[in-house]
């Protein structure tokens, strides 16, 4: 019950911030519409809607890290978290309360992106629903990162690391804007050991109905999600003990 109450508060804090709505919803939608408009005017298939949308949905999830990290960092800085430590909330209540409500927000963001894509000509198939569901492990990875950074960093640092660095890493190393093979070399190798390109490839395979194509990408995503969750819980409990 306490988890639900705390989750409700987390959701309200995130959804009532107009900047969060702007970046979380507006930015991915602008990207989809803008890049689709570019695609309509170029002779090559660079931003074809079926390939673009999975990439943008994964990119959009990087903002979940920013939202959850900012909220947790603000709560620590403002001593609101200290107040909560004097209540009957337990460690699992805190971890689930900060993380769980962001998951439906993340899935809703993905769903809105696919609706926009449908308006731009993406064929309506059942695989769109599967693609939204497969955003769950990817969302979990980004949400756990948010818990990790929010536990370890101050508000200003969160803005820099999560707002600037992580979103750019997700963009450049995921193959959303360009084929990573065009760059190749060490760049491609680095991208291959990070989860971003695997998340996008997994999403593209699901959307195309190629469920064998999700391998081995799904293992990378699940592995990184599990590691992020473990580290997030460790860092949260560590800061809880310190405070």
């Amino acid at each position: 019950m306490r988890i639900l109450i705390f989750s409700g508060r987390t959701a309200k804090e995130i959804l009532r911030d107009p900047l969060n709505l702007g970046f979380g919803l507006g930015f991915p939608l602008v990207l989809i519409f803008l890049l689709s408009a570019i695609q309509a005017n170029i002779p090559v298939s660079l931003f074809e809607i079926g390939s673009l949308t999975p990439g943008v949905t994964v990119f959009g999830l990087s903002f979940m890290t920013l939202f959850s990290a900012t909220l947790l960092a603000k709560d620590r800085d403002s001593a609101f978290l200290q107040r909560l430590y004097t209540t009957p909330l337990s460690a699992p209540d805190f971890v689930f309360g900060y993380a769980l409500p962001v998951l439906p927000i993340a899935l809703a963001q993905g769903a809105v992106c696919y609706v926009a894509a449908i308006l731009l000509g993406l064929p309506v198939t059942l695989t769109i629903l599967y693609a939204v569901l497969f955003l769950c492990p990817v969302s979990l990875f980004f949400i756990a990162l948010g818990l990790l950074f929010g536990s370890a960093l101050g508000v200003k640092q969160v803005g820099g690391i999560c707002g600037a660095l992580l979103t750019n890493l997700t963009a450049w190393l995921s193959g959303v804007w360009f084929d990573l093979d065009l760059v190749g070399g060490i760049f491609r190798k680095i991208a291959n050991v990070l989860p971003f390109v695997h998340a996008v490839e997994m999403e593209r395979a699901v959307l195309n109905g190629d469920f064998s194509g999700i391998f081995p990408h799904v293992w990378w995503v699940l592995g990184y999600a599990a590691a992020a969750v473990a580290l997030a819980v460790y860092f949260f409990l560590r800061q809880m003990k310190r405070q």
């Binding site: 306490r2 009532r16 403002s78 001593a79 107040r83 209540t87």
Partner: protein, 241 residues
């Protein structure tokens, strides 16, 4: 009965002793102020007594429960209004209060009744639907105290409750605190002399983590041989240099 009894309470951070062997007893229903300049150890003392940080040495007993070995029982009987205004910024005043009610496991009926009671006592009626981040400093402090009172604590910790407030907001908050006097044991930390003198039953003067003097404002003035409380504070603090 003593609501709070601290025995050689100590807090060290590596080589720095922040609270040094504090012995203190606060009676039930008393408003006790910890007065001292910045860095005296007041906030650290509050944090130890409210189980937010573990002591390095010694112990304290709140209503008979140890802060070292029985923190769960201690937490059930305390409320804390931290120095930083600890409120949920994007929730309204009502939502902040109902949120705290929910965390304490109150039924829907009790939440409504509790919220209405605190709104009236703390004078929050006209800002009930306002987002907490949009409130003035004075109202934010009132909300912070209201949230600390939600759990029906027997002991309330107020850490620098009027810090940063203008003179009118401070006066209003003093009135609110006076209404609570006698009904609940309160520990208040402040570096404002007039606040300690105006509100407290007894005052403890701290410096460098140690309790230098303890008594009513009149007793402290008499000890220092001064007519003015601020001069008495300065004399007591300086006589230990």
């Amino acid at each position: 009965m003593d609501a709070i009894k601290a025995e050689h309470l100590t807090k060290k951070y590596k080589d720095l002793t922040v609270v040094d062997g504090l012995d203190l007893a606060v009676r039930e229903g008393e408003l006790f102020s910890l007065l001292g300049v910045n860095g005296a150890g007041k906030t650290t003392t509050i944090k130890m007594l409210s189980c937010l940080t573990k002591p390095t040495g010694g112990d304290a007993y709140l209503l008979g429960n140890s802060i070292v070995s029985n923190t769960a029982e201690v937490k059930k009987s305390i409320g804390v209004s931290p120095q930083e205004t600890a409120i949920a910024p994007n929730l309204t005043v009502r939502e902040n209060l109902e949120f705290m009610c929910g965390l304490h496991g109150f039924s829907r009926e009790k939440r409504k009744q509790k919220t209405a009671d605190l709104v009236e006592r703390l004078g929050l009626a006209q800002v009930l639907g306002k987002k907490a981040e949009k409130l003035s400093g004075g109202y934010q402090r009132r909300l912070s105290i209201a949230m600390a009172l939600i759990g029906e604590p027997k002991i309330l910790f107020l850490d620098e409750p009027t810090l940063g407030l203008d003179v009118l907001a401070r006066s209003d908050l003093w009135d609110v605190i006076r209404l609570l006097k006698g009904k609940i044991t309160m520990i208040l930390t402040t570096h404002y002399m007039e606040e300690a003198q105006a509100l407290s039953d007894r005052v403890g003067i701290m410096k460098d983590g140690r309790l230098l003097a303890l008594g009513t404002a009149e007793e402290l003035k008499a000890r220092a041989g001064k007519d003015d409380f601020e001069e008495a504070f300065i004399a007591i603090v300086k006589e230990t240099v």
